[in-house]
Symmetry: C2
Subunit: 236 residues, 2 copies
DNA sequence: CCTACCGATCGGTAGG
DNA sequence: CCTACCGATCGGTAGG
């Protein structure tokens, strides 16, 4: 109704209804990204077609190109968005002061809670990271490196403090810890018998026990999940 | 030369040169599977085309259908072959008697050595397992289950012997251990600075330390890589 | 957001 | 193993 008052109909618009689009466009963009995430997760990036995504939304395939220039760009935005969220999650955890072993425990548990909450996005990230071509890959891989570095540095600090065995390679240890946590995307199911909190707690404890020095094993006690890692602090 | 003596040339063969094919066919099949593994690994199953595989071999795409009925079957054989090899590897390791903690250590180290030796095959297996449609998936997933069960059972035995903490869930522990080891396929590079032996030894040690009970931490000493896990015992 | 369309490529078949 | 070919679908464009 308002649109009748807003302006007279013009025969040929040079651009499609700009005012209506500019406002709704962002919502539609978000909806398209959500649909793309879903389809990429279900079928894999390569097997997913733009037609699948359009069907998910009840629009025409060609309409997607009004919002995104290419399928690759769609993937890129999904990846860039979830890794940014992940980094923010880690930073929030590291803001709370604690000894390196406790920080590491929280990073692992927080990583897993985040993964389970954003399962589709994270699965697409971990599974399709390499499908994105060279140019756009740089920023995403740099962010990924930043993410992993938080684990490596925390492990190094643990070694400096004598809390983590000095005979392990910090990078290798981070890859082990992250691998065990990341792998969760391959088997975790929402509503299944394994609760994210249980997985996070057990995985973090196993990893920390695997790295702790003898001295640390005597004095260190595992923290509780609710401090600093609670999913409610990671609300959208 | 022998083929001139073997039979006269016939104008129109009802089937393509049967004798020559039956012998060479198995070699060609193996070559095609090797090429498919390479291409699936490089581009991913969905992005890989039969044309890519044919190009790798210098033959025509249509010729592939003389040996394999479909692209899916190609994938299926790659997957079935590597998981069978993996199970054989685990069985070989478990033949050598030892306490459950030592067996677990060897399973992990042996798993990683195997993964690094058959990197392309294993990467395709771990990355594309789900790309294979329902019918053919059953046997492969059953084998996968068998594989994982060796880890779960060994952990349960460790718990029964008081060597592994009783407060961990054996399945969850196996998923953690296997995740850390499997993840290697995403970052390991042949000829890189990380040697398979070092990765295997460190990962196995970290995982076992992460699960060992206090009692076990006092008495258990990690085995050497050469006993029972040596890659030379896993020759093709 | 739509209709209409395109060139390229896909897995696969016929027939030898 | 090859030539010749096919229907379907792909990502993407023109133009509104």
């Amino acid at each position: 109704m308002t649109k009748v008052l807003a302006r007279e109909p013009s025969r040929k618009l040079p651009e499609p209804a700009p005012v209506r689009h500019r406002l709704r466009g962002h919502e539609r963009r978000a909806e398209i990204l959500a649909a793309a995430t879903k389809v990429f997760h279900r079928k894999g990036y390569e097997a997913a077609s733009l037609q699948d995504i359009a069907d998910e939304l009840g629009i025409r395939k060609a309409s997607l190109f009004y919002y995104f220039p290419s399928k690759e760009e769609l993937l890129h935005e999904v990846l860039a968005s979830i890794i940014a969220r992940g980094i923010a999650n880690l930073r929030r955890i590291m803001e709370v002061p604690a000894d390196p072993l406790t920080v590491l425990w929280r990073l692992i548990a927080g990583h897993i809670l985040h993964l389970c909450e954003y399962l589709e996005e994270t699965a697409v990230f971990l599974h399709e990271r390499k499908s994105i071509p060279a140019e756009k890959r740089h920023t995403v891989l740099a962010d990924d490196h930043t993410y992993q570095n938080h684990f490596v540095e925390t492990i190094r600090e643990g070694q400096a403090a004598g809390l983590i065995r000095s005979d392990v390679d910090a990078k290798l240890a981070a890859l082990s810890v992250l691998g065990s946590a990341n792998w969760t995307y391959t088997w975790f199911r929402r509503g299944g018998s394994m609760k994210p909190e249980v997985i996070g707690e057990q995985f973090a404890t196993m990893s920390v026990n695997g790295l702790a020095s003898e001295k640390a094993l005597e004095i260190w006690r595992k923290p509780s999940l609710s401090e600093a890692v609670s999913p409610s602090t990671a609300r959208r």
